[in-house]
Symmetry: C2
Subunit: 175 residues, 2 copies
């Protein structure tokens, strides 16, 4: 049941956004009473937090793995890791992007900001030039954003190819 709720919530959050999805919407999708959701979860936020938690953990782990690397090595590893992340957690990433303001700095996701900053540092290498960090930031967000954005993708085959294409496109030195 818990798993059913998470599954429905993930799908609905991804298509309508967190604020655009009511508890009743989720309950109807699951096929249970609204009150049942609040038996399994303290409140609505807790549902989203549990969906995002693994993504937050993996992001932190990725930052850990990249910390000791340098330059191109870090860049390639970062890209590979990010693609893996956006594939494995496409659901959660989509939620994260749409309603990031709801979830950021929540106790369930400790150090999310720090993880992102460390990833930017790894991607940018040891360069202090703001331009390098900008470029790193763009590369960092490109994959999840393109897979997660609600913007209409011109055609369906393009949408299907998007993640694989992004992988191939990014699988090269960043500069």
């Amino acid at each position: 049941m818990r798993e059913d709720i998470l599954e429905s919530a993930a799908r609905l959050f991804a298509t309508r956004g967190f604020r655009g999805t009511s508890l009743q919407d989720i309950a109807s999708d699951v096929g249970c009473a609204k009150a049942s959701l609040l038996y399994h979860f303290r409140n609505k936020d807790a549902i989203l937090a549990e969906l995002l938690a693994p993504a937050g953990r993996e992001l932190a782990e990725l930052a850990d793995r990249l910390a000791p690397l340098d330059g191109d090595e870090a860049a390639r590893a970062a890209v590979a890791g990010l693609v893996e992340l956006s594939l494995g957690f496409r659901r959660q990433v989509k939620i994260l992007l749409q309603d990031v303001d709801v979830m950021i700095n929540r106790p369930e996701l400790p150090g999310l900001n720090e993880s992102i900053e460390r990833l930017v540092d790894s991607l940018a290498g040891r360069s202090d030039a703001p331009e390098a960090r900008v470029r790193a930031w763009m590369a960092l967000v490109a994959v999840p954003l393109t897979t997660a954005t609600g913007l209409p993708v011109p055609d369906e085959t393009l949408r299907a190819e998007l993640t694989r294409g992004a992988l191939r496109t990014l699988d090269r030195p960043l500069d």
Copy 2:
């Protein structure tokens, strides 16, 4: 007054999202009664639509300008045009991205999907390879997405540099 409403709505939509902003929020920010908003605008959607309208028009015009171009020429012009767009309409683009599902296919924004598709075609050149279109799509969304996303930017100077950095980064052949 109309202009005050649009100004407040743009700021609030951009920070809290369309669904996360109530009419009362806007009215409080403007310093007037909620009912006043509905005197100047038919409903809440109409406020957002009016904010997005110019961006939609300029997007269509950009697609027009790029249609006759080819290859690298189109790519460079597209990038320049998109940067200009995301600079001039950062407010609206941000709204567009967050709540695109609310606004897409609205009569106030005719041909938005078509404009985007035509821009992808221009960027991809005459290549039929799906990978080329994927790459074009990514370049297309990278600028507005990086400037518009609600994701936390590691530090403030980085946020300030973002658009200019994106311009420099993208100011080169796409492939």
